[in-house]
Structure formats: C-alpha cells, structure tokens
Amino acid sequence: MSFLSGFTDSDLWHSFIRTPTALVSALLTLILIAGALAAPLVAPHNPFDLASLDIMSAHLPPVWMKDGDPAFLLGTDDQGRDVLSAIFYGARISLLVGFASVLLAVLIGVTLGLVSGYLGGRADAAIMRVADVQLSFPAILIALLIDGVARGVLPREAQEHMAVYVLVFAIGISNWVQYARTVRGAAMVESRKEYVQAARIIGIGPVAILWRHILPNVLGPVLVIATINLALAIITEATLSFLGVGVPPTTPSLGTLIRIGNDYLFSGEWWISIFPGVVLVLLVLSVNLLGDWLRDALNPKLR
C-alpha cells in the first residue's frame, strides 16, 4: 500500500510516465508477453499439434494476397502451419528461453558476485579466475558447446522435451559472468559502507548481511543488465537455431521459424520468415529500449 504510493511518487515512476519511448516499449513488451502467454486462447490453430497440420495447405500466402486462405491470416509455412499461431506459440518459447536463461544467469552470477565481493580473498580469486576463463569464450561458443554436452549426456528419449531446457541452461551458463562482475564490484563498495559494519557490530552473520543488506542495494544494475540480456538471450536462441542446435522444428521458437523461413526468402514466400522476424525485432527492440531507459533512470548521476 504505502509501498505503491511510495513507488508512484518515486522519480523512477515519474521519469517513466514522462518518457514516451519507455511507455511505448513497455506497452509493446506487455502486449507481446500477454499474447505469448495467452497463445492457446488467442491463436486460431495449435501449430505444435502435428495431427492438426495439413500439408496440403502449406505455403499459403497471407490472407490479403492472391489465393490466401482466411483461415490463415498471415499464411502458412512449409508444413501447413498457421504462421500467426506459430508466432504466438514461438514467441512463447522464445520468451520462456529468454526469461528462464536470464533468471539462471542472474541466480548464478549474483550469488557468486556477492560471495566474492563480500568475502574477497581466496573465494574471490577463485571465482574471478573462473570468470576470466569463461570470459575468454564468447557466449555463443559456450552455448554451442554446452548444448553439445547436454545433448550428449541426456538420455535420447528425453532430448525432445529437454531441448528447451538445454537451451536455457546453455544460454544461462554462458551469461552469468557479467552479473558476477557487476555485483562483485557493487558488493565490494557496499560492504565497506558503514551500515554493513553496523550490522556486523550487532553480530549479524554474513549470509543475513548479504541477503538483507547488500543484495537489495546491488539489484539496480543487475536489473538493467538483466533486461538488456533478456533481449540478448532471445537473439542468442535465434542464432543457435540458425546454427541448427535450437529447439526441434516440430515446436519452433521465433528463431526457428526465421531459420525455416530463410529457405523461402528467394522463393517469394517471404511471410514465413518476415512475420516472425518482425515480431522478434519488435520484442527485442522494445525490451532493449526498456533496459536503456531503466539504465538512465536508475543512474542517479544522469538524473
């Protein structure tokens, strides 16, 4: 209650409602997320249900073009999948992968960052070495490798259903370092502050201090990185799909849809890749814009 009023009164809120780009992008993001979540309700067809696909209705153009079929607003792909529905469901997967992997990265990164920032010494050295090693590898490669391993070690039956989680894992693992470094820096600053010393004098243990005192104060930058990385994760997923290690084609994500559509760019069946492409760009763009605004808004120096 008081929190809410406190929020609506906060500078963050005011800069938000005063920044059109922020408003628009937030709105867009919400719409897309809502659409993705409500896919089963809003989508005219279920593109993941193979039995419902009729290959004879494949490659139909959008409804407003010649021999377009009103049943398929944005046309169909090579399997007779309704592109519109595929987009809804695909966005769902892309977002799932995006959010889940970011969440994973944040969990790992923040935890390690806090530990190494607060404890310092050996733990810090060790963690940061690992970070360096990992940094010496670009996310995309790491994701590729981890994906390879995961597919190797998982029981093959599982793979179909695991594919998404494998991706989440791969992308998540490949992105934690950034958080760790940021949080570490922030945690170092915070832990030197006197309110932390006060807590220690009282006798409060490290875990409680990290959790109750330091964590809340380092979340700002994390939030910013997270938004930017959400966009990045979605792109990464798409790129991995392009390299052929994405989700199975029977349950395509936006990235997979684009990859499939790529094969038809020249054949004039542009709608198969362009529509998902547009949605992907819109999604990523709006998330990026949000992150952008958030970064400036949360940076007191810029206010």
């Binding site: 249900d49 193979l50 039995a51 696909l53 290959i55 004879m56 494949a58 490659h59 090579d78 399997q79 007779g80 597919r151 093959r156 039956e157 793979q159 179909e160 052929g244 199975p248 084609p249 029977t250 790529n262 094969d263 038809y264 760019l265 020249f266 054949s267 004039g268 069946e269």
Partner: protein, 534 residues
C-alpha cells in the same frame, strides 16, 4: 543497368582470379559452385559421389558412364568377360597424363595396388580384383575373386593414376590421416588423363581447373578453357550468387527456389530425378524399441504396423508441397535410373489412412503409440521437412513421432553400424554407386551379416532369407535378362514384406546461367566434358 554491367565485369574479375596464362581475357570460364568442397584430390581418399565426380574431370576410369549412366569406353577401348572370374581390358593407346608421361598397363596395376594401401577408402574397389596381370603395355587381365558380371560398372569410379608421377612425388600410398601422411601430395595436386588440369587448390574456398590441350578425346563438346570452383554452403548465398551473376552453375538449388530462378532472367533451374532413393524404415530386430512408449515388445515386428505406417504417408502430398513436384514417388528402394527398376514394384503404395487406422487397431494399437524418428537435417533435399511431413501424416493416424533431426555428423554417428544401429525409426537415402540394383539389395535389403558385409546399411535389420538367396545369385549371374528377372523378384518380396517405407527418388536441382549447357547425370555428377558456356 550500366552499374550492373560494370559489376558483372568485376564479378568476372573475381572469377578469373588466379588466371595467369596469356589471353586469359578471352578464355571461356565456367564458374561453378557446390554446397561442399571436393574433400580431397586423391582419387582413393574418399569414396563419395561428389568428390569422385569432381575428380572425374581430372582422372579417368577404364570404363566410364555416359549421360544416361550407360558404360562407355574411357581408358579402355574394349573389354570382354571371357570367363566368369576373368576380365580383359584393352587399353587406349596414345593417351598421356597431364605431365606428359604416357599411359600404360603399369599405371593400371599400380593404381589397383594403391587402392589397397592403408589410407585408401577405395579398398572395396580394389577388392573386386584378386589379381591384375599385364599382358602387354596396353592389355591387362583381371581375375575376380568371384564371378562378377558388372565389373566394368563397378569400376566406373576407379580412376587411374600415373605410376611414375606418384613415385616421383612420393605419393604411392593413398592419403592417410595418420602417421607420415604419405600421399599428401596427391591430396592437393593431381595428374590424371582427364580433360582438365588442376592448377590451383584452396580447400573449401577455391579450386581452379584448366583445359588439358592434348586430351585424347577431341570429340568432347565442351568449350570451357577454365573452371573456377567455389563451394558455398549456405543455400541462400549460393542462389544469390547465381542470380547476381557471380556464378554460372550451382548445385544444388533448394527446390522451393525454382520458381524464383525461372522468373529471374539470365538464370534458369535445371532439374531431373536423381538415382538416389529416399526412404524410411523401422527397427525390426530388437524385441523392444529403444525409443518408444511401447514396452516389452516391438510393434514393428508386426507387418500390419509397418503396413499401417506405409499406407498412412501421402507421397503425392510430400512431392507436391515439399519437393515442389520434382521428386519421383517410389514404392521401392531404387530410383528409375537404377538398373533393374520396374514399374511393377516401383510404383508407390496407395495412400490409405483409413486402412492404416484399421491395421493399427488390428495390431493392437487403436490409439497408436509414440516413437522417436531419427533424421538428418543437412544431408538430403529438404530432409528435415520431409521427416516433419511424415511425422505429421502419421500423427493423423494416431502415431506420435518425436522428431530428432540432427546434422549429418551426429545423425550418422548415431544410426550407423558402428553405433550399433541406435535407432527405432529413421530416414535414409541411397544411391547404388554401380547404378545397379545388386548394390542396393545387398546393402539395404540383405539380412545383416558382418562377414559378408550384407545389410550393412539395413539399419532396421529387415531380413528375409529368400532375398539374400536371390541377391547372391544376382551377384554372380552374367545373363542380364535372367539377372533382371531375379532383381524384380527380390524387390517384390521386399515390397510385400513392407520392409521399408519408400518415399521418393529425390530430384537433382541445379541452377545455371542462361546459355550455359551442362548435362545433368542421374548420379548428380557434373561432367565437364559436356559443359558449354556462351
């Protein structure tokens, strides 16, 4: 348009890169691209159609194929098969290798020996001769271990190397990935008797061939002086390069891009049915499927289930929608071009989902079941898409397919013999290298048998002794009529057993610049002897 011309010229500059001899400007150049590179220049390095096909422009066999894949004299003018296990080849006189050294019987014998060296992947070819005797400089006598009626066909890709050259360059053994890597020279350089000379070789990026001025056959109709070969793996990029005029011939063209090529002026698609048959099959050996929700038994051991699957798939639809009508739907495992094909067993099974449902119910799976399908996603034309379509159609009769589509590396690593045929339901394609049914029967329809190498690619383990019997006979039968009768019988048995779910003979699909003439051979090989550029 002016810009366009300028840049076309600059494109030509690209193509002419490496041209050194005088008059390069007027030289007729063919700029050619394939989705991958010819893996090696060593004719015994890899037994793979494209690699050997490419080398076929530099090296030559004793007996080759014409445009119709019928045997034609190459380095052997005449040959006869006087006794079941004895062949005599009369070698062409006055033929010289690119380095000027003359071609003699010694080269044939040397080459034969070389195919048997450690690094060689053509041991199978070498093994077809027990001994090769030199009668005179231009006659050799080949003793086969068993009667072999089609040796000349089976050796169509056994190229002859120069003994002297190989010895001079210390490449008397086939390229080997281990040890001293003898023969690495032959891997990068070449010295054949063919119409083209290898002048530049940058693996995966560029290979340049030049016309061999004193090639023995003056009658070939090509007017190409120089060939610049650049592999381009991304289909989109490849097609773009053709349309932008940077290439003259590309293969393959994604079938869905044909329309576009037809509409674009200056280029056109070139298509025909390939000798490669694409099919799906079932694990009929294990007592319980590895990847299925049916436990304790193997539904595919029941012919009704196999039949149900076969009848549930609408080949016409797949052909129309995914292959754009370019494939030839099949009811057997060989393409029409393959020796022994016959409509009687080659026509597709009728599409009848109702029957499928009924059969499944009879077999005790009224609600179908779930099985994982292994499928490559970068090996055959639209392979992944076809698998999806099959999955979709099976879903309609209640069978749920989990599709595991992987790159060929992973896919073959999983399903082939070395991995113990680790699959329950898979897609595969096959071109008999001899363009003869026997090869397909032996590899695909024969009961698995490590000793006789029979059924090596029979990943589902379909087995019917009658077929084996016939296959052995066919292998030895020298009377073509009798032989083809037996082939027919064998294929009919396989069909009746529903041992496989044949899909289609996949299309060859090339793209060429307007005015460029090439002959499209059913084994998807581009024989430059017939290439003509405007």
């Amino acid at each position: 348009m002016k810009i366009a011309t300028v840049l076309l010229r600059s494109a030509a500059v690209i193509a002419l890169a490496g041209a050194v001899f005088a008059g390069a400007a007027e030289a007729k150049t063919l700029r050619w691209s394939y989705q991958g590179d010819a893996t090696t220049m060593d004719p015994y390095g890899l037994n793979e159609t494209f690699t050997l096909g490419f080398q076929g422009n530099i090296y030559e066999p004793l007996v080759g194929y014409d445009a119709k894949l019928q045997p034609v004299p190459m380095l052997a003018e005449k040959w006869e098969n006087p006794e079941p296990t004895k062949w005599v080849f009369h070698l062409r006189k006055g033929v010289t290798f690119h380095d000027g050294s003359p071609f003699t019987a010694d080269d044939v014998i040397f080459s034969w020996k070389r195919t048997l060296t450690e690094g060689s992947d053509m041991k199978g070819y070498g093994a077809k001769a027990k001994e090769i005797r030199k009668i005179d400089d231009h006659t050799v006598e080949v003793i086969t271990p068993t009667p072999n009626p089609i040796l000349e066909r089976e050796w169509s890709l056994f190229y002859i190397m120069s003994k002297t050259w190989s010895e001079m360059n210390n490449t008397t053994e086939a390229t080997n990935v281990k040890g001293s890597n003898q023969g690495n020279h032959a891997n990068r350089a070449a010295n054949g008797t063919g119409p083209f000379v290898l002048t530049e070789r940058q693996p995966d990026s560029k290979t340049v061939l030049k016309r061999f001025p004193n090639y023995w056959d003056k009658s070939i109709k090509t007017n190409v002086d120089e060939v610049v070969f650049t592999p381009v793996s991304q289909p989109a990029t490849r097609v773009a390069a053709l349309m932008s005029g940077e290439l003259d011939v590309i293969q393959p063209v994604p079938v869905q891009d044909w329309e576009r090529l037809e509409q674009t002026k200056g280029v056109k698609p070139l298509t025909g049915a390939e000798a490669r048959a694409i099919f799906v099959s079932f694990d009929q050996v294990r007592d319980e499927l590895k990847y299925s929700d049916v436990k304790g038994k193997n539904p595919f051991k029941d012919v009704r289930v196999r039949a149900a699957f076969v009848h549930a798939v609408n080949l016409e639809a797949i052909n129309k929608q995914i292959m754009r009508g370019s494939a030839v739907p099949l009811g057997t495992l060989i393409a029409p071009e393959v020796n022994g094909f016959d409509k009687s067993f080659g026509a597709p099974y009728p599409y009848d989902p109702e029957k499928s449902k009924k059969l499944l119910a009879e077999a005790g799976y009224p609600n179908g079941f779930t099985v994982t399908m292994d499928c490559p996603n970068d090996r055959y034309v639209n392979d992944e898409k076809v698998c999806q379509a099959v999955a979709g159609m099976l879903a309609k009769v209640g069978v749920k397919i989990d599709l595991l589509a992987q790159t060929k590396g992973k896919y073959f690593g999983k399903v082939l013999a070395q991995a113990g045929y680790d699959t329950s339901f898979y897609m595969l394609g096959w071109t008999p290298s001899s363009i003869d049914s026997h090869n397909s029967l032996l590899n695909l329809a024969g009961c698995r048998n490590k000793e006789t190498q029979s059924g090596l690619f029979n990943l589902g383990g379909y087995c019917n002794p009658k077929v084996d019997e016939l296959t052995t006979k066919i292998g030895a039968e020298t009377d073509q009529a009798k032989r083809n009768a037996m082939i027919k019988e064998a294929w009919e048995i396989v069909r009746a057993d529903y041992g496989y779910m044949p899909l289609h003979a996949q299309p060859m699909s090339w793209g060429v610049r307007e005015g460029v003439q090439v002959v499209q051979r059913a084994d998807d090989v581009l024989d430059l002897r017939s290439a003509v550029v405007p």
